[in-house]
């Protein structure tokens, strides 16, 4: 088991290395950030001075190696734009995004899994067909459109929920949380719903497919032959077996949402990391982009590790495979 975790971490460093090269070269090719940073009237000498100050006068490989050396010591550089440490910028924005995504994912699992099981148990019932039609809409309608419609309905027509920004926050140690205040929840509701609806639609489909696959299994029929109550068959025999695909997809979606909740955050002016990433890409603020992506790779690797550990908790034969 420890060997397994260490292997995973090594793999993570490999991925981070490759990805950082790609991002570095990619942003280098796109253009020169100094043109964004100085006024259009600036002289070539002023530009040169800025390039030198930011280290951009060096060759790309020297810049990269310098970055690696610093990163190994935990320094991911400073934003070209604000001069703040890149890592600090990201971490400041992180709670807003994580909070939003956790609420959205919880919503999608709590709604998607029961509806998916329902649709899987009785595939021909009208209610199941309605659920499946709803789920097609849920993930084929574009995210921003759902967001705008929700704003129109709840913020404009009904006027019951705010349309943008984060609500009142409470500091828990260094972290500012808005899920602890009523105002915070009011602000969270619409963006979380926007993000959660498409995910719920996906959860419905995954759960339904898994349910349809497990139901005809002999062990379900045997459980019935044992005279178990239907609730026990459903909550233990079926649920435990469909959890693996559900956890896989939920894990992937969670990571994806954390890293790229950009659209939802933009529509609702949510001050999260996605907004920061987009702003940094536009201004070619390389340190922030690179630091952000490295953090996300690291986060996704950890998330996958957690998912794998969850597999082992559910599926006893998966446990055997890593016992070395």
């Amino acid at each position: 088991m420890p060997v397994f975790i260490i292997n995973r971490l090594f793999q993570a460093f490999g991925v981070i290395l490759v990805m950082s090269v790609l991002v570095f070269v990619g942003l280098y090719l796109i253009g020169d950030p100094t043109s964004m940073l100085v006024s259009p009237e600036a002289t070539e000498i002023e530009r040169q001075a800025l390039r030198k100050a930011l280290g951009l006068d060096q060759s790309i490989w020297v810049q990269y190696l310098t970055f690696l050396g610093n990163a190994a010591q935990g320094d991911f550089g400073r934003s070209f734009l604000t001069g703040q440490p890149a890592l600090q910028l990201i971490i400041e924005r992180m709670p807003a995004t994580v909070e939003l995504v956790i609420v959205a994912m919880t919503f999608s699992v709590l709604v998607g899994v029961p509806l998916g099981i329902l649709a899987g148990l009785r595939p021909k019932a009208p209610s199941s067909k309605a659920i499946m039609t709803g789920s097609i809409l849920g993930f084929s309608l574009p995210n921003f459109w759902i967001g705008l419609m929700l704003i129109m309905l709840f913020a404009v027509y009904l006027g019951v929920l705010p349309a943008s920004a984060r609500g009142e926050t409470v500091s828990v140690g260094p972290v500012a949380l808005s899920i602890l205040t009523i105002d915070g929840w009011q602000h969270l509701a619409l963006p979380a719903l926007t993000l959660g609806l498409a995910k719920a639609a996906l959860m419905i489909r995954v759960t339904r497919a898994a349910t349809r696959e497990v139901l005809p299994m002999d062990y379900i029929k045997f459980a019935r032959a044992k005279g178990l109550r239907p609730s026990r068959i459903l909550n233990v025999h079926l649920l435990k077996n469909i959890l693996i695909p559900i956890i896989t997809v939920a894990g992937l979606e969670f990571g994806q949402a954390i890293a790229f909740a950009v659209v939802t955050e933009s529509v609702f002016s949510w001050p999260g990391m996605g907004k920061l990433l987009i702003d940094s890409i536009i201004t070619l603020d390389r340190p922030v982009v690179v630091a952000y992506l490295i953090m996300m790779v690291f986060f996704l690797v950890i998330l996958n590790l957690v998912v794998d550990i969850l597999y082992m908790a559910i599926d006893p034969s998966a446990r055997e495979k890593v016992r070395d």
């Binding site: 299994m217 002999d218 062990y219 029929k221 045997f222 459980a223 019935r224 032959a225 044992k226 005279g227 178990l228 109550r229 239907p230 026990r232 233990v236 025999h237 435990k240 077996n241 559910i314 599926d315 006893p316 034969s317 055997e320």
Partner: protein, 333 residues
């Protein structure tokens, strides 16, 4: 015949435990109605062992599932009655039926690698079977689970209780499935080809042990199989099924030594024995008919050497002395 089976046959005459009359289980498919079971009569006494023999697709498993009420749509029991110990299983409510399943009537399935839930420990799967039918503490249920494993001859039961199915061999898993079937001391066990997926050596052991356990506990058994040789040494009586109907029933020795129905005769002739050594085995000519499109009259007519024009009308079961019954116009009397 040994003494116990003679007693069993004697009790059977007094008051049957299970009495199936005219059972029809049909499946409405897109291609048409599949008459998987089409008029089956079975009578089974307490503690009696019945071998239900037939080819695959003859409806023997569906008969078993019909008794337990485990027929799923598009399948449906369209006609007939199943009387079990005074209960009418066909019209009975689902909750009442659940209380009988696994408690009064238990079932053992064909493939032991598929019947145990792969993500649940053995103890969980045994304990839940006890607790589904009796309000007992988990400790008490665990004790019963352990006893059940000992009963079916599983070594170091405490270790096995904590194991997951994938850690056990096929034979071991089938023993556990048998322990699950026995745990609530049912009056009837339906065993659906439980040894087909096992090694021949394990097969023999399991058949022997199940027989001993049923005799000891007075449990009636319906052993479903396609292998006449398997039930020859096991069953008190044999019912032979063909295309959804029982074509012949009788005491095991009678059926095997003096088969009445040409299909039974064909089955017996195709079992290898010392007498047939070195010779080509007999083969029943033709193919099993499609259940969607059965021939008119007797379903075996087109493959039968004794077929006569009468066979265009389906024969009804003829009762003969000695508890025999045959569905044929030209039985070998």
């Amino acid at each position: 015949m040994d003494v116990s089976s003679m007693q069993a046959t004697a009790t059977a005459k007094r008051e049957p435990l299970l009495s199936i009359k005219g059972l029809k289980t049909h499946f409405a498919t897109r291609a048409g109605v599949v008459k998987a079971v089409d008029g089956v009569d079975i009578e089974l006494g307490r503690g009696e062992i019945l071998g239900l023999v037939g080819e695959s697709g003859s409806g023997k498993s569906i008969t078993g599932f019909s008794i337990l009420g485990l027929i799923d749509p598009p399948g449906r029991i369209v006609d007939g009655s199943i009387d079990y110990d005074g209960f009418d299983l066909v019209s009975m409510g689902e909750e009442a039926r659940r209380q009988l399943r696994g408690n009064d009537i238990a079932m053992i399935f064909q493939d032991p690698s598929m019947t145990l839930n792969p993500v649940l420990r053995i103890d969980t799967q045994l304990i839940e079977t006890v607790q589904a039918h009796a309000e007992v503490s988990t400790a008490e249920a665990r004790q019963r689970a352990r006893d059940a494993l000992v009963q079916v001859g599983i070594p170091s039961p405490d270790e096995r209780l904590k194991a997951y199915p994938y850690e056990l061999s096929g034979g071991m898993r089938q023993r556990i499935a048998i322990a699950i079937a026995l745990i609530n001391k049912p009056k009837l066990i339906i065993a659906d080809e439980p040894t087909t997926a096992l090694d021949v050596s394990i097969q023999g052991q399991i058949i022997y042990e199940v027989k001993q356990l049923c005799r000891k506990t007075g449990t009636a058994l319906i052993w479903i199989t396609h292998d006449l040789a398997v039930v020859a040494g096991l069953a008190d009586r044999i019912s032979v099924m063909y295309a959804g109907r029982i074509v012949e029933t009788g005491i095991t020795a009678d059926v095997i030594e003096r088969p009445l129905h040409p299909y039974t005769q064909g089955l017996i002739d195709s079992v290898p024995s010392h007498a047939t050594r070195g010779r080509r085995l007999h083969q029943i000519k033709g193919m099993t008919p499609s259940l969607l499109n059965l021939p008119q009259g007797c379903a075996f007519r087109e493959r039968c050497e004794r077929a006569t024009p009468e066979c265009l009308v389906a024969p009804e079961p003829t009762l003969l002395p000695g508890g025999k019954s045959v569905r044929c116009w030209n039985p070998a009397l």
